[in-house]
């Protein structure tokens, strides 16, 4: 039971309704539940999976969902959490914040979800966060990597599982300035994620001694980059650092590789998501970041990939990538935190997550990771990669160039921007 006013009101409405209907049959909603509990068993814990199925991040959202489902199935296979089975529900959030708000409201108020998981788009993540914060519902932002997620838009109830633009810049910029050249050009998607990422790249590059010769702002939904590419050629920079996202990047990639411009200039990209790569692998270019790769030479990775493939033989993408990985890790760590807390009480679950350390082996990364108590962001290994010239199979698209320890990729400014509200001011619940 929620221990705020909501439950009492619900009871009152219920009795009013019962009186009105004079014992009439109760109707149930049409939602597709994944009921896994037998009659009489303990009440299951319900997770609301807020994944895009359409819009700009539809493909990523569905890949994210597979990771979450895999973690849930693993827990259910061993008897659930706290002796309770785990149920889940998902609805298309349409890569649209307004839709995400409604879905979050429904998951919390109507579906009585204990926790929410999932986001790729930062607007969607913000929308869900605002609703969740109102109810105190713990929310895992799996894949939205705007630096503001762990900065000005951080929240006590939200945990951010992806590496962000600043992390990737930190991992990439200094080496590039020293190794490649000092004349830098920025190619930036003209929206919040692009701007914040470009700003952090600019600061880091200038600190390393580079000169930013121009910053070309590319409107969102640009498909034809010819005029920018001509401009890039005219300006003749040593390095082009891009902060272009989603579909726009796919289009850019294709045009650059078609013209072989990668051979003339060094390109540094921010994070590239596996579902975006998978659609057009031939157009990978430059150096880019990721948090995980399915052919990392680490113990457990192969076995994890096999389990994933066995669970989702019909997945449009045949192997898990960073997006699905984040979905899996966020869900698994949330459920583990519930186990550690011994309750679904949100305050206790948050406490169990804050500052939690996750060994490298357990996360299948090179370095230990931890959940930053100040920003609620997972600080983890950041990989730089480029296109694999000698792939071992058709999924082997990356050549991993380096791994950066969390400490060296840390966004130092984030804690000053992030103001978490005190736990006492968060509505509490236990479901």
């Amino acid at each position: 039971m929620r221990d705020n006013g909501i439950s009492r009101r619900r009871v009152m409405q219920g009795s009013l309704m019962a009186a009105a209907l004079a014992g009439g049959a109760t109707m149930f909603g049409p939602w597709k539940h994944n009921r896994v509990w037998a009659q009489g068993a303990a009440k299951p814990i319900k997770l609301g999976l807020t994944c895009d199925a359409s819009g700009q991040y539809g493909a990523s959202g569905q890949d994210d969902l597979l990771g979450m489902r895999m973690a849930i199935e693993e827990f259910n296979a061993k008897g659930g959490v706290l002796g309770r089975k785990i149920e889940w529900i998902t609805t298309d959030t349409e890569t649209n914040p307004a839709t995400a708000t409604r879905v979050a409201e429904r998951f919390i108020a109507q579906e009585q979800c204990a926790f929410l998981i999932g986001a790729v788009h930062s607007g969607v993540a913000n929308a869900i966060t605002q609703v969740a914060a109102k109810y105190g519902t713990v929310y895992m932002n799996t894949n939205s990597s705007a630096p503001s997620e762990a900065g000005e838009n951080c929240s006590r109830i939200k945990f951010v599982w992806d590496g962000n633009g600043t992390n990737f810049s930190k991992a990439a910029v200094r080496n590039a300035v020293e190794g490649i050249g000092k004349r830098w050009l920025l190619l930036t998607n003209d929206y919040v994620w692009g701007h914040t990422t470009a700003a952090s790249t600019k600061a880091l590059a200038e600190a390393a001694g580079a000169q930013i010769i121009d910053n070309l702002l590319v409107p969102q939904n640009t498909r034809d980059f010819t005029s920018y590419l001509l401009k890039v050629q005219q300006l003749k920079p040593d390095v082009v650092a891009t902060a272009i996202g989603g579909d726009d990047l796919k289009a850019l990639r294709q045009q650059i590789t078609d013209l072989r411009l990668e051979e003339r200039t060094a390109w540094i990209n921010n994070q590239q998501d596996w579902p975006d790569i998978w659609g057009a692998p031939e157009s990978l270019f430059g150096v880019f970041g990721t948090t995980w790769y399915h052919k990392l030479k680490l113990p457990g990775v192969d076995e994890f990939v096999k389990r994933w493939q066995a669970a989702f033989p019909k997945s449009p993408i045949p192997v898990p990538g960073n997006v699905s990985y984040n979905g899996y890790m966020a869900t698994r760590e949330l459920l583990r935190a519930v186990e550690r807390a011994g309750t679904t009480n949100n305050g206790k679950v948050i406490a169990a997550l804050e500052g939690h350390k996750m060994p490298a082996a357990d996360r299948m990364q090179h370095f230990d990771a931890y959940i930053d108590a100040a920003t609620h962001q997972v600080q983890q290994t950041i990989y730089l990669a480029r296109r694999n010239a000698k792939p071992s199979d058709k999924t082997d698209l990356y050549e991993i160039l380096s791994q950066t320890a969390p400490a060296n990729a840390l966004d130092a400014a984030a804690p000053t921007k992030c103001k978490l509200v005190a736990m006492e001011r968060v509505p509490t619940y236990e479901m």
């Binding site: 539809g58 493909a59 034809d224 005029s227 920018y228 659609g279």
Partner: protein, 306 residues
């Protein structure tokens, strides 16, 4: 300065030709039938998807697909270019069939009907092919880059622009120099007269719609390597198309061509010198022109204003 500007002018020109190509089928149906086809973008997208199925190849019959895959890409691509529009044409004919109920009514109904059809087709594409992006492979001869003005240019882009010119020339000849075109133009203004000439007006309308559909699909195939293939590409195409039509003036062939070039120039130049404004530029151009020339550059008075 001029030397710096020149590449962007060339770019704007090629872009403009492609925009004009996208708008061409839209223009035909709007100008000759006085029907707005908002599903134009979906037909454009279908053309790209069908071409993708043929060229990659991803035919739904495994044996045939295997045999076809051994054919060189050049042939597969050519087949896609020729076949995809033909395959999309029936979809256009179905839309025309549905639209018949709106003939003679307020043109608003045609607009609403095709808006609904566009939503349905976009979701159908999503259901069949998923939300992810695909790319259309292009034969080596027309892909890659070449040097011009000391810069690398996309070969495909010039090829596509040349193709756009050819397609426009064919349409011009069909509309202006053939009996079919004469009948269509007459039918647009006086359907009774055409019927008196012994022509089945319904077949004529279906013919125009089929032609418009094939042009939309053809534009989709041509644009696929530039824009990529994804469910949303239809909306990306239909919006510039209607901007160009309104700018050029409803019913004017040369208006559409000129407007396409203007939009291309404006988008190309703003992309280079005021990049943040490049997407907005075409709307501002539209509002500017239409404020001073109510019916666009070469527009005539039309039923659509009623």
């Amino acid at each position: 300065m001029l030397f710096n500007l020149l590449p962007h002018l060339v770019n704007g020109l090629t872009l403009g030709l492609l925009f004009a190509l996208i708008a061409l089928g839209f223009m035909l149906i709007l100008g000759l039938m006085e029907q707005i086809n908002l599903a134009h973008g979906s037909l454009f997208a279908l053309g790209a998807y069908f071409a993708f199925v043929i060229a990659t190849p991803r035919l739904p019959w495994p044996e045939l697909n295997q045999a076809w895959a051994t054919v060189p890409l050049g042939w597969r691509y050519t087949a896609a270019l020729l076949l995809a529009p033909v395959l999309v044409a029936p979809v256009g004919l179905v839309i025309e069939r549905l639209m018949r109920r709106t003939y003679g009514r307020d043109p608003l109904y045609g607009l609403l009907l095709t808006f609904g059809i566009a939503l349905v087709l976009e979701d159908a594409i999503r259901t069949v092919w998923g939300t992810r992006d695909y790319s259309l492979p292009v034969p080596r001869d027309i892909s890659g880059g070449f040097f011009l003005l000391d810069l690398i240019w996309s070969r495909y882009r010039f090829w596509a622009a040349a193709f756009a010119i050819a397609a426009m020339a064919v349409v011009w000849v069909v509309v202006e120099r053939t009996r079919f075109g004469a009948m269509v133009k007459a039918g647009a203004h006086d359907s009774e007269m055409v019927q008196a000439m012994g022509v089945d007006i319904r077949k004529l309308r279906a013919g125009v719609f089929a032609l418009g559909t094939m042009l939309a699909a053809l534009a989709g195939v041509i644009m696929a390597p530039v824009w990529g293939i994804r469910p949303h590409m239809g909306v990306d195409a239909v919006v510039p198309a209607f901007v160009i039509i309104v700018l050029g003036g409803v019913g004017s062939f040369w208006g559409a061509v000129l407007a396409g070039l203007m939009v291309g120039m404006v988008v190309g130049l703003s992309g280079a010198y005021a990049s943040e404004w490049s997407l907005l530029s075409m709307y501002l151009l539209l509002i500017l022109v239409v404020t001073f020339r109510a019916r666009g550059l070469f527009g005539k008075k039309s039923l659509l204003e009623a």
